[in-house]
Assembly symmetry: C2
Homo-oligomer: 112 residues x 2
DNA sequence: GCGTGTTGCTACAATAATTGTAGCAAGGAA
DNA sequence: TTCCTTGCTACAATTATTGTAGCAACACGC
């Protein structure tokens, strides 16, 4: 759940070193985490719309992931409802946005 | 397991659209997948060394992930033993390498 | 040959995460 | 009120992951 210990040190499953890159890789390495950020890249989505965008993933995981991503400061729930990226979240999203173009090239190389 | 159907279309759990970015996000969104790529970024590692680098993750998952990453064409097993990145894998690794610097900034903002 | 150590890899049971379905309370509009 | 949406939760079934132990194959020194 990406709990935080007293000093603000993140101690996440699978990364006991405390190095932020490890905590980040662990957080993003949970199911639907990357996908959620990806689907929110353009505009905020309601929980239902997000669920639809994520191939009808079960609301249980989505809710857990959203909570984690909110605790991490990447996602926020707007006043009028709907989940959106925080400035930091948008920054993160842009960081791995080049993955899109890579994925296209990847398929053309390894796929058909 | 990132099986491939006849036409080379990847059909991965959680991404039934076939869009390569979804397949990629799903593949990378499995435990230790990102971490494995990250640990192999500098040099090839033997399975044991990789296990050590990954906080003694269980060999079961590592083996499964390594198989998936090999099928995806990101990782290969060298002749003399030891897992290393393929050219495509190195390309992918460099794609999300900026995550490192982001993670540092992220901690300084949200952490302590 | 013999041991000793490595390699990649697997079996197994216990635990944790994820799925899929159903449903809740709170709010808004008719 | 009814109808519809919002965010969110309960629950059992399924799947993934963990942790420990161990395998066969290969290379070394002896």
């Amino acid at each position: 759940m990406a709990k935080q210990t007293g000093s603000g040190e993140r101690r996440v499953r699978g990364s006991r070193t405390g190095r932020p890159i490890m905590a980040l890789l662990d957080l993003l390495g949970r199911r639907w985490a990357l996908r959620i950020l990806w689907e929110l890249r353009a505009e905020p989505l309601t929980s239902r719309a997000l669920r639809t965008a994520c191939d009808e993933a079960s609301p249980t995981v989505l809710q857990v992931r959203l909570t984690e991503l909110r605790e991490a400061g990447f996602v926020e729930l707007g006043d009028g409802g709907g989940y959106g990226l925080t400035p930091v979240g948008r920054e993160l999203c842009e960081t791995f946005m080049p993955l899109h173009r890579f994925a296209e090239r990847w398929r053309s190389k390894s796929g058909a």
